[in-house]
């Protein structure tokens, strides 16, 4: 076989040699295609798996850690919460609507594959500046795609985040997260156990979707197939819904041995992974696979990424029943093979064996690389930043309005009003607060959900930035009244083959591990997306954090909006002269420089402990985490959402005005409290050493801020609200 062939398929020469050694012969083209997709970065994690071992994945609540389709955490009452986040960046860059839609469909299948009922979706999105038409097109298409799929399949999209930074211009990030509820004893795994059990393929017919364009250059292809074009995957949420219901019905009744969704690398991945996990083998016959197009070749059928397909392992006794159930749901299901005990994945077509490879080597035999890792030069450069170089704010009013109307800070209502965030009537805190809260039917409990990552921090200091991403997520959950339970991550980076990028990756993973270890929050699932680059320029390192928290009593959940005039506003936590990496620096002074605000994990822990206790005892009316834009932006959000004003007095204590008002010091929270409760709260804070400042009261129709007795901010809530609400809308008109 000519080197061009495996190189075109993206295999390194030494990787090809490994394949030859495993097989004891040259692979044929079908086998080579199968290896090329299974040993791709996407499926094999060959550049990341070593580093990912650093992540803490254990915990007494962990029912299922990384390795399966999704992680599961014990939430009591015999229930588990099952969740995972995944990226669909590159497909979304090519076709934003379908790219995002199929991303949502894929993550949903990961959840119900485990036997869990999907109950919520979130998404973390990043685009270039909305000033550019291209980015508005991508933003519009991605949001429409998420809404198109999520709304149709009937799972509420309850939260997420959207950021706009020029580094995402040609390479938007689309990270979708799905959360499901599962009865502990109903957990299903993707295992092809039991030699003699049958392999059933169900759902969409197989077409030439998403087959790597490169393979078409290969000379082994027939003339006929030359003009065949690979096609973009198109999602079918309707069939997704039918699959979801039918599979859950079968799992509920214990009619399946194992189940696995077909995602990247399609049939190849589903067959070899289920067999490998169970230490078995499998024989399948491609003549039995329902095809959408004529004349598809074996390799096309094996690596096709057609959407809405599932693979089930079924005992012979159940075969007919399984087919009946799918028929009732209007789905095509066919038995395409059976499980064997020889560990070999054998693929037949036209009565002949077209591929015969050890399942384990396909699924888990890919080489693991430990790439060169070295600090990139930019780190020093951006680190050298002296705040005295920039002038302090003079007109705080206009600065505030500029910040509030910056798309990254402005209201995301334009996005989430396109998502059905109420279907299933379980959404207790709707999008628009720190975290979404959903109730768990048939119990007092609730789940709080959030995604967070300030990638500018991570860019400036990958380790600290990643640490902060974790605590910000935790803070968002705590401010909603929930105890953080566990994390799913989606690690978006440039090319790991560049020492500087791999260094970012390594440091970020170390940062995540450090925070998670410290808070005892395990990482139970996740996803790595490398090669997020446009002509050599990498995106900001973006380890998106999805976090799930538990409320024992959902009625005690807390939102960020100010509730009643006369209530007192309290700031917990210290403010330092920290402007590095801040929204203020970037929006007002167009600078991406300095160190991210420093994070003291011990302080953070005590803060979260106290805030959670205060909320659980029902002592506060609102709680809001202080993040992008700092204290005054957070205050504005509390006012806007509560549609009420506030009067605040601050002491500068020698701080620069901009740092005091717009700095993003960590471990801070804004509370509004009924006067009757103020002493109790103060007690709790001070007794555990959490800095407590009574800074003002709720009321009126303006936000008024005095610093050292001098009025710095005085704007009507209407004006603040208008700027914040209409910013994104204006761009998208």
């Amino acid at each position: 076989m000519k080197p061009e062939i495996w190189r075109e398929l993206g295999l390194k020469d030494e990787e090809y040699q490994m394949i030859v050694d495993v097989l004891g012969r040259e692979p044929n083209y079908v086998e080579l295609s199968m290896y090329s997709v299974m040993w791709s970065e996407h499926c094999s994690y060959k550049h990341s798996k070593e580093t990912l071992r650093l992540l803490p994945t254990k915990g007494d609540r962990v029912l299922q850690g990384p390795g399966e389709n999704a992680g599961i955490i014990d939430i009591g009452d015999g229930l588990g919460v099952c969740f995972k986040m995944e990226s669909h960046n590159h497909p979304s860059a090519i076709e934003p609507y379908q790219g995002a839609a199929t991303g949502v469909g894929g993550i949903i299948r990961d959840i119900f594959t485990m036997g869990a009922r999907p109950v919520a979706l979130l998404n973390s999105l990043r685009f270039g500046s909305l000033e550019e038409t291209k980015n508005r097109y991508l933003f519009n298409g991605v949001v429409a795609g998420i809404s198109g799929y999520g709304n149709c399949i009937g799972i509420p999209t309850v939260g997420g985040e959207v950021y706009f930074e020029s580094c995402y211009g040609g390479n938007p990030l689309v990270n979708a997260m799905c959360v499901g509820i599962i009865e502990k004893e109903k957990i299903k795994l993707g295992h092809a156990t039991g030699s003699g059990n049958l392999v059933v393929l169900v759902g969409a017919h197989t077409g030439r979707d998403g087959i790597h364009g490169v393979t078409f250059a290969s000379e082994e292809l027939s003339e006929a197939s030359k003009e065949k074009r690979p096609s973009v995957q198109v999602g079918d949420p309707f069939m997704g819904k039918l699959l979801l219901e039918a599979c859950l019905e079968l799992i509920e009744n214990g009619d399946v041995v194992g189940i696995q969704d077909l995602g990247g690398a399609g049939l190849t991945c589903a067959t070899c992974e289920t067999a490998s996990r169970a230490g078995t083998g499998m024989e399948i016959n491609l003549d039995d696979v329902p095809l959408r197009e004529e004349g598809m070749e074996a390799y096309e059928i094996m690596i096709s990424e057609s959407q809405e397909r599932m693979l089930l392992i079924v005992s012979p006794e159940k075969e007919s029943k399984v087919h009946e159930v799918f028929k009732r749901w209007g789905l095509t299901s066919t038995t395409i093979g059976h499980v064997t005990d020889d560990g070999i994945l054998r693929v037949y077509k036209g009565g002949k064996i077209t591929a015969e490879v050890p399942a384990h080597s396909l699924a888990d035999g890919a080489p693991a690389y430990n790439p060169v890792c070295s600090e990139p030069d930019y780190i020093k450069a951006v680190g050298e930043f002296n705040i005295s170089e920039i002038p302090d704010v003079d007109d705080a009013n206009s600065t505030l309005l500029k910040l509030l109307s910056h798309p990254s800070i402005a209201s995301k209502e334009w996005v989430y009003r396109q998502y059905d965030h109420m279907v299933r009537t379980c959404t207790v805190i709707l999008p628009g607060s720190d975290a979404a809260v959903i109730r768990i039917r048939g119990s007092q409990k609730g789940l709080a959900l959030t995604t967070d990552c300030n990638s500018r921090y991570v860019y400036l200091d990958p380790q600290e930035g990643a640490k902060i991403a974790i605590v910000e997520a935790a803070r968002n959950l705590v401010c909603s009244g929930a105890k953080p339970l566990a994390v799913t991550d989606c690690l978006n980076f440039g090319s790991p083959e560049k020492p500087g990028i791999f260094w970012q990756f390594r440091k970020a993973v170390e940062g995540i591990s450090e925070s998670c270890e410290f808070f005892g929050i395990p990482v139970v699932s996740g996803n790595v997306s490398f090669y997020n680059e446009v002509n050599g320029e990498a995106i900001y390192p973006t380890p998106t954090i999805g976090m799930v928290g538990l409320l024992e009593d959902v009625s005690l959940c807390c939102t960020q909006d100010f509730k009643k005039a006369g209530e007192l506003i309290v700031l917990l936590g210290d403010t330092y002269e920290e402007l590095g990496g801040s929204e203020y620096l970037s929006v007002i002074h167009s600078l991406v420089k300095g160190k991210p605000p420093k994070l003291d994990l011990i302080k953070e822990k005590t803060l979260l402990k106290v805030v959670l206790a205060i909320i659980q005892q029902g002592l506060v009316s609102s709680a809001h985490d202080i993040s992008e834009g700092g204290l005054i932006v957070a205050l504005s959000e509390c006012c806007i959402c509560g549609n009420i004003g506030a009067k605040v007095r601050l002491e500068s204590e020698g701080l620069r005005m901009d740092a005091l008002l717009f700095g993003e010091s960590q471990s801070r929270t804004l509370l509004s409290i009924h006067p009757d409760n103020i002493h109790a709260v103060m007690e709790m804070a001070l007794s555990s050493g959490v800095p407590f400042k009574l800074i003002g009261w709720v009321g009126g129709d303006k936000l008024i801020v005095n610093v050292d007795g001098e009025e710095k901010i005085n704007i009507s809530i209407d004006e603040i609200s208008k700027n914040w609400r209409e910013a994104i809308e204006c761009y998208m008109k």
Binding site: N151, F238, M422
Partner: protein
């Protein structure tokens, strides 16, 4: 009294209607699969929201040919109570049980948000328990809720008091800003001449518990219950 919630392939608010009737209002309720022969034994049929058949071609266009629909049409013509919510409304229109049509929202976007609606006709089996002048806070979630009917039809409907709900401001003013989807005359819900078939875009089943932000939807179901007479 027994409620039936019809399940089409792609229905997804069936669960919510069922939950409200069973767990909140403690009424007898059953799902009815779209291929069932008949709706015998049920006193009120609910066509829930969702995306029946993916809303492909036109919302509700394919679902109306489900086997069960024939029996529902008979049920309706013989005076049985039928309420279609959101996608259910679209199906009733496609099935010819209600006049007019529902087009794409003027924004050309899906909209999920709380809306305020006034009850224009309190004299139907679905609205008799709603206090006159009371403005209901009920959420919408749809991409095709933009009601349209030609002038002749609209005149007819007005003459027969078939316009049941209209979008208003929180204070009850019928304005363009209060109209979330471009509906003709801010129409949010209509009934047939007899008044025993109601279609509405807002989701009363999503406004039945305090934790969900509104309980105004209950009065619609309470009306039905009153009407069926305990």
């Amino acid at each position: 009294m027994k409620f039936g919630v019809v399940v089409f392939p792609g229905s997804n608010c069936d669960l919510d209607a069922y939950h409200l009737l069973k767990d909140v209002l403690s009424r007898e309720v059953e799902y009815i699969w779209h291929q069932a022969e008949s709706v015998k034994g049920f006193d009120c049929i609910i066509l829930p929201g969702g995306f029946s058949y993916g809303d492909y071609l036109r919302c509700g266009a394919i679902a109306r040919f489900s086997p069960l629909m024939e029996s529902i049409v008979e049920f309706a013509q013989s005076g049985g109570l039928v309420i279609g919510i959101c996608n259910g409304f679209q199906i009733l229109i496609e099935a010819g049980l209600l006049p007019g049509t529902l087009r794409r929202n003027v924004s050309l976007q899906f909209r999920c948000q709380f809306t305020y609606i006034s009850t224009e006709n309190n004299n139907t089996p679905f609205t008799n328990a709603i206090k006159p002048k009371k403005i209901l806070k009920i959420p919408i979630a749809h991409g095709d809720g933009n009601y349209f009917a030609d002038e002749k039809t609209l005149k007819e409907m007005k003459k027969n008091n078939q316009i049941v709900f209209r979008y208003t401001t929180p204070t009850g003013d019928i304005t363009i800003d209060a109209n979330p989807n471009g509906s003709l005359d801010n129409i949010a819900g209509i009934c047939n001449k007899k008044g025993n078939v109601l279609g509405m875009m807002p989701h009363p089943e999503r406004a039945g518990e305090t934790v969900l932000g509104s309980i105004d939807g209950l009065s619609v179901f309470q009306s039905i219950i009153n009407n069926l007479g305990e």
